[in-house]
């Protein structure tokens, strides 16, 4: 408490000064080297103590007894700094997933092991396990085992999400179809034929295999965090017998450079990536070539930095095009934040790092090219999560009686929002509780836990969680455990507003009496003046000061939800109008141009006005009807499609501008300058709105008429205003019949103008295309 652990150098000095004094000289000299390798000598000397003896025993161990091991350790020179070949780090990725079903990972054995460790350091009672661990440590002294490799000790204490990682493809949580897709891609990229074909197809020539392989260069896995992307790749790679070469975002690169580069630090991030992609895609000469390799990137460089991003994109493009028989494919895993449109989607910081779409990850050239395939992982369905959690529980707690009830598992699965990793984290925290309960001899029977049904007043009826029977205290525990801004809480708080419970309600006796009592104890309302009498209300059970902090989403999101679902709880249009008036006022109170960055005061006022306004406007009591549902705000969908569309428009804009510049430069070379001058730059200087409402729809229509691509493929699915249908049917007719009308009607005039425009553009683009071909 009283001092902060700052300097690395003071790390181990306190423990055994007598033993370490002799090494000080060495340590000093090492410290002057790069910070990363400096502690390695210490590390190798202190580690054996961790494993073999306990903390209290260690003190007399160092003073009185020097075993043979100890002598050996002392005699051994410290290993060279940076003595960690890179291959071992990649090995660690595969060795990490030790089969969790092995006997020594269970709870009981771990406690046995502790007791052995803490009892004494006498060698006689050491169990077989301890000896194994000692063996590990001997290896570590020699520097042969990578640091990241979990020994059996650390595995027992690993986070469950790491410890019970699936070992076979059957155990993977994501959908079968998706896994099969990934597997087929890997197989095709490595061998040239899909994985479900047992033997290579007889008629398949090597050439066609190569052709398939050539176009399977990059696999981009996207999806929200915790959807199982990385796990899928790792498990599949192991099943296919493939080595994963992982890019470490400069993490492990420092130690690699021993002998090759004098100052790896000087190498910029971008260069390292380029080198990684181009160098490591070939099998090293000294290695056994039987095992195919896959490059794997899960942490990307800082893509918000423009030069880095460009370098990364061009490295990927080069990587796609350089294909030889020996090169291996690349898998990129990218976690997208909040693609599920969930309530707690953090759209507030939408431009923040790590929220780039697929386009900005690999660049549009690569994404649009045939070399790259994207597979999108979706948030896992609660049933899938439940299944995976049960599997984890089977392995983690062998004793059925000690496991938390199934309903609890279901509740965790529901509140995890499709994130398996956080669900497992929650489960681990929950199980800490159960083991403690049993330890305190307060063991509850499973039936007990399931039987205490939730009270009528508790939770929102619309909320998913209300269906599941969980006792109140277990629910309370889960509330803390699974509080990942979860939707249950959101529905809970929305329900509190929508049901507008007041003291005068007829069914007040069914409410939580504690709350009722506190509300009753409040001071009586002052009488209202006569012109405000219509607003006379009895005390609300929602006590603002306590309620507002329990809202699990930010104020704007909460307002969105209220706005979407409020009308179905009102009985009168006036009530809706009144509530929405207050929503409007709250909206105005936040600074107008940018509600995301309004001051905290403004947000506080707005939230007060929103909630109080809704409560005041809603009827009391709110009649219960069947159609009262809490609906997800449409805003999320609209916002997402807006983002997608604007991204596509930007891309289209860029490509049009490129072509315009190209054509204008060529035109200026030729003598056609006068005639071109007006039409050349039109793609480039238009505003986005003109582009979206006029140019792109028109060009799309042109494309349809001529079957000739004018726009980049990603512009095709831009959502367009619907007027095109009218014009198209008309125009086709008129083209055929009224080519030369003398008296054009108004419609035809319009059409005429359109056609003229079209022709002009058409010719210009035709020429442009020709020019490009020549070029």
């Amino acid at each position: 408490m009283t001092s902060k652990d700052t300097a690395q150098s003071t790390k181990t000095s306190k423990k055994s000064p007598s033993r370490r004094s002799g090494k000080n000289g060495i340590n000093e000299s090492k410290k002057k080297m790069s910070s990363l390798s400096s502690f390695q000598p210490m590390l190798n000397f202190t580690k054996p103590i961790v494993a073999s003896t306990s903390a209290p025993a260690r003190l007399d161990f160092s003073s009185k007894s020097t075993t043979k091991d100890e002598v050996d350790r002392k005699a051994m020179p410290p290993p060279l700094p940076g003595f960690l070949p890179k291959s071992r780090l990649s090995l660690s990725a595969s060795t990490r997933q030790v089969k969790a079903s092995s006997s020594d990972s269970g709870g009981p054995s771990s406690t046995v092991f502790h007791s052995v460790k803490t009892s004494s350091n006498s060698h006689s009672i050491k169990s077989k396990k301890v000896i194994e661990i000692l063996d590990d440590d001997e290896d570590e002294i020699n520097g042969k085992i990578p640091k990241a490799r979990p020994s059996k000790i650390s595995l027992i204490h690993a986070i469950w999400a790491d410890r019970f990682v699936p070992s076979t493809a059957i155990e993977l949580a994501p959908g079968k179809a998706r896994i099969a897709k990934v597997k087929n891609w890997l197989s095709e990229a490595l061998y040239g034929y899909p994985a479900d074909v047992v033997l290579p197809p007889a008629g398949m020539s090597n050439q066609s295999k190569e052709r398939i392989r050539k176009y399977k260069r990059i696999l981009l896995l996207t999806g929200p965090a915790g959807a199982g992307k990385t796990t899928t790749i790792k498990v599949l790679a192991r099943e296919l017998g493939v080595e994963l070469v992982e890019w470490g975002d400069s993490m492990d690169e420092y130690s690699v450079g021993l002998g090759t580069a004098d100052s790896p630090d000087r190498e910029s991030n971008a260069t390292r990536i380029t080198n990684f992609l181009l160098r490591d895609c070939f099998v090293p000469l000294d290695q056994n070539t039987s095992k195919p390799r896959i490059l794997f990137m899960s942490s990307l460089p800082n893509l918000t930095h423009l030069p880095t991003r460009e370098a990364f994109h061009s490295a990927l493009a080069t990587f796609c095009k350089t294909f030889t028989l020996d090169s291996c494919p690349l898998v990129i895993v990218h976690s997208e934040a909040g693609s599920g449109g969930r309530a707690e989607e953090s759209w507030m910081d939408r431009e923040g790092g790590g929220r780039e779409g697929a386009v900005s990850v690999v660049g549009k050239e690569v994404l649009g090219s045939p070399y790259c395939q994207g597979i999108d992982f979706i948030p896992l369905a609660p049933t899938f999560i439940t299944k995976a959690l049960s599997r984890v529980l089977d392995q983690a707690i062998p004793d059925v009686k000690q496991r938390p009830p199934h309903s609890a598992v279901q509740l965790i699965a529901l509140s995890a929002n499709g994130d398996l990793r956080s669900a497992i984290n929650s489960l681990q925290m929950l199980c800490g509780q159960t083991t403690r309960l049993t330890g305190n001899k307060r063991k509850r029977k499973n039936g007990d836990i399931g039987s205490g049904s939730s009270r009528t007043g508790r939770g929102s009826r619309g909320g998913k969680g209300a269906r599941i029977d969980v006792s109140d205290d277990l629910r309370a525990v889960l509330d803390i455990v699974a509080k990942r801004e979860n939707s249950l809480n959101l529905f809970h708080s929305l329900g509190k507003v929508f049901y507008n419970k007041r003291l005068s309600d007829p069914r007040i006796d069914e409410e939580d009496q504690e709350v009722v009592a506190t509300v009753r104890a409040l001071a009586v309302d002052d009488p209202l003046p006569s012109h405000l009498e219509q607003y006379q209300r009895s005390k609300s059970l929602v006590q603002m000061e306590n309620f507002l902090p329990t809202i699990s989403v930010d104020a704007s999101t909460f307002t969105l939800w209220l706005h979407q679902s409020l009308p179905s709880f009102c009985t009168d249009i006036d009530q809706v109008a009144e509530a929405y008036d207050d929503l409007c006022r709250a909206d105005m109170m936040r600074t107008d141009d940018d509600i995301w960055q309004s001051s905290p005061q403004a947000i506080a006022y707005a939230l007060h006005i929103v909630v109080r306004g809704c409560l005041l406007a809603l009827p009391s009591p709110v009649p219960r009807r069947n159609n009262q549902k809490v609906i997800k705000p449409q805003w999320f969908d609209a916002y997402r499609s807006e983002r997608e569309n604007s991204g596509q428009i930007n891309l289209t804009w860029a490509s049009l501008a490129k072509r315009a510049i190209k054509s204008s430069s060529i035109a200026s070379d030729t003598s056609l300058h006068e005639t071109w001058s007006e039409s050349t730059a039109w793609g480039g200087i238009q505003t986005r709105s003109v582009l979206a409402t006029e140019t792109i729809p028109m060009m799309l229509k042109l494309e349809k008429l001529h079957n000739r691509p004018l726009l980049p493929p990603n512009a095709q699915n831009l959502s367009l205003p619907p007027y095109t249908t009218f014009i198209r049917t008309q125009s086709l007719d008129e083209r055929d019949t009224n080519e030369e009308t003398e008296e054009p009607s108004f419609k035809e005039e319009v059409m005429r103008n359109w056609e003229e425009d079209e022709e002009e553009e058409e010719t210009s683009w035709l020429k442009d295309d020709e020019i490009e071909d020549w070029d």
């Binding site: 690993a158 929200p224 965090a225 956080s422 801004e485 405000l532």
Partner: protein
């Protein structure tokens, strides 16, 4: 802001002062809990932390919540409970005031994570990142991978005000604990304990004034307690408001009552009184808001209307027109709410 290490630096700095000149240590640091049992408030969550501490297998955790509610303290207590004697070696703490860019994550955090430290069996090194929401997104991305690779030996504990400022991949790797505001009774209990230990003379009104000004922020409450004690020697309501330099809520309350009755002259006089005492418009309007929302006897519709009008005035003041005219206009509008519309017609 909740920051343990800032405070710690203070300790060492002030400890010297104690020796040299006999200065007093901030009570916030002097009585900062060391055991999880001593933490005030959020009992359910702290209970959970105790379970984890016994079990020893901590997941990565994020604790989020307002300032001054014990986030950092909880993490420190947890680390103490887990590591005991080895706390010094096994904990790396980085604070918003420390440099925490990508480079730090890559080098400092990583090298700490790689280091082998002798710890009690089954325990892990702990890296505490205070105010993690102020880390850049790039640094968080870099952190993500470090967390994954070294989770066997090192656990992360993050404290932040807004958990949605933490990028999703990190949230997914952590158990998120939300701390709620401390209840008044909890703050009061702790204040009373401190008064006893430090032998502070006080009356109940003084303590409730401290609670009112602190708004659930324990640190502020304790700081104000200490300031009042060392400044006046007695903790009474008036002294507290003098120390905190806030408009007296009683005056404000009378002002609102006057508005409710439509006595505009009385209300304006109260505002003028506060203004003459030298309080700024922001101070006054903030207190008005705070008092208004705490007035239980105010009917719901009036409360809504009042909060709206106060809000408008607050926004204007924040935009730069912090004048007495704005406050006067606010008072007038508050009065109008309860006046019968017929009397306002020309």
């Amino acid at each position: 802001m909740a920051s343990g290490s800032k405070g710690k630096d203070n300790i060492s700095a002030i400890a010297k002062h104690v020796d040299a000149e006999g200065y007093e240590m901030p009570w916030v640091e002097k009585y900062r809990p060391v055991l999880l049992d001593d933490i005030v408030g959020n009992t359910d969550t702290v209970e959970r932390l105790k379970v984890i501490a016994e079990d020893g297998n901590v997941p990565h955790i994020i604790i989020s919540g307002m300032p001054g509610i014990g986030k950092t303290t909880s993490i420190h207590c947890l680390a103490h409970a887990l590591l005991g004697e080895s706390y010094k070696e096994g904990v790396l703490e980085l604070n918003a005031s420390d440099e925490r860019g990508i480079d730090v994550v890559r080098n400092k955090i990583k090298s700490f994570a790689q280091r082998k430290v002798t710890l009690p069996p089954g325990r892990h090194k702990i890296i505490i990142l205070d105010e993690a929401d102020s880390m850049t997104a790039g640094a968080q991305q870099a952190l993500r991978r470090t967390m994954e690779i070294y989770s066997n030996t090192t656990r992360f504990a993050l404290a932040c005000n807004m958990s949605n400022k933490i990028i999703e991949p990190i949230q997914s790797r952590c158990a998120i604990l939300r701390y709620s505001k401390l209840k008044d009774a909890e703050v009061l209990k702790r204040l009373k304990e401190l008064c006893e230990m430090e032998d502070v003379k006080h009356n109940d009104a003084g303590l409730s004034a401290l609670i009112f000004t602190a708004e659930g922020d324990m640190r502020q409450a304790i700081n104000n307690l200490q300031s009042t004690h060392s400044g006046f020697g007695f903790v009474s309501q008036d002294n507290v408001f003098k120390i905190c330099d806030q408009p007296h809520p009683i005056v404000v309350r009378h002002m609102i009552k006057a508005c409710q009755k439509g006595e505009i002259d009385d209300a304006l006089a109260r505002i003028n009184e506060l203004w003459d005492q030298g309080y700024s418009a922001v101070d006054i309007v903030t207190t008005v808001f705070r008092v208004t929302k705490g007035m239980e006897e105010l009917p719901e519709v009036l409360k809504l209307d009042y909060i709206r009008e106060i809000g408008w005035t607050h926004m204007r003041i924040l935009e730069g027109v912090g004048t007495l005219v704005q406050l006067g206009a606010m008072v007038a509008r508050l009065c109008r709410v309860t006046m019968p519309p017929s009397s306002l017609r020309l």
